[in-house]
């Protein structure tokens, strides 16, 4: 019992252990709810709900009406749980803190200004979500959930993601690669 509570307070688990936990979660998601884990779909549904409230005619197209209907779905509740779970993880390891920009490696590359981090995070996240919409999912929804069903789409996505990610890291990090 003591060992378990010590493991909970540890800040960094081996990725294998955390991966086993996520794999079990994935199995339970299909077994208990007949649904797949995923994050980007939930964001798109919430964005659709907000968009339809503000500008109904712009959002009245095929994507937001049938492919990704804008309602509180299983995925949206899952996303709420993810936020809570991440907070719980940080709380049990006493690293829960509201951070503005604290990653040392990021500061070494781009400089310590907070607005730079927030701007790049915002723009990059737009790029990220747009790509996820085209592909039909993000790392959890398409790569892991699709991969565990052995869908070819998942492996295509992982290959493309790593190809462009490595290129981008090369460009950003140049000589310090």
């Amino acid at each position: 019992m003591n060992w378990i509570s010590k493991q909970f307070r540890n800040e960094l688990w081996s990725p294998y252990a955390a991966g086993i936990l996520l794999g079990i979660v994935g199995i339970l998601a299909v077994w208990l709810s007949d649904s797949l884990l995923g994050a980007s779909g939930a964001f798109e549904r919430v964005a659709g709900m907000l968009g339809k409230a503000v500008a109904p005619t712009t959002f009245n197209n095929l994507y937001f009406n049938t492919i990704m209907p804008s309602k509180i779905s299983w995925g949206v509740i899952l996303l709420v749980g993810v936020i809570l779970g991440g907070t719980l993880g940080a709380w049990t390891s006493k690293t829960l803190k509201f951070r503005l920009n604290d990653d040392a490696q990021w500061k070494a590359i781009f400089g310590p200004q907070v607005w730079k981090r927030w701007l790049i995070a915002f723009l990059g996240a737009i790029v990220l979500e747009y790509g996820a919409g085209i592909a039909g999912g993000c790392t959890s929804g398409l790569a892991i959930s699709g991969g565990m069903l052995l869908a070819p789409a998942a492996f295509l996505f992982i290959a493309a993601m790593f190809a462009s990610g490595i290129l981008t890291a090369l460009v950003v990090y140049r000589s310090r690669y």
């Binding site: 996520l22 809570l84 779970g85 790029v127 790509g131 592909a135």
Partner: protein
């Protein structure tokens, strides 16, 4: 209703495992693209293999049926993945 409670419950464990693996930090996500910290790959592949084995065993025992598999449309998946990789390496999310 019970479906949504299960969603919340599973989501907590999802977020918890992501946080404990350290994948919420910029340097962990970006360093996989520089081949210095392979935690992202280890995490993803472990969960994929565990989930795959479990699901196929359960399906073989006849206890579950697979939900809709994500559609394979090559151009979309590849282009989406390329765009996604740029965003991921830039922001570290």
């Amino acid at each position: 209703m019970i479906n949504y409670i299960i969603a919340l419950f599973l989501g907590v464990f999802f977020g918890f495992s992501l946080n404990k693996a350290g994948l919420t930090k910029y340097h962990k996500i970006v360093n996989v693209f520089r081949f210095t910290d392979m935690a992202v790959l280890q995490f993803m592949m472990t969960s994929l293999v565990v989930a795959m084995s479990g699901l196929y065993v359960l399906r073989g025992l006849g206890m579950i049926k697979f939900p809709n598999v994500p559609a394979t449309y090559i151009a979309g998946n590849l282009v989406g993945g390329l765009i996604f990789g740029v965003g991921m390496a830039l922001t570290g999310f």
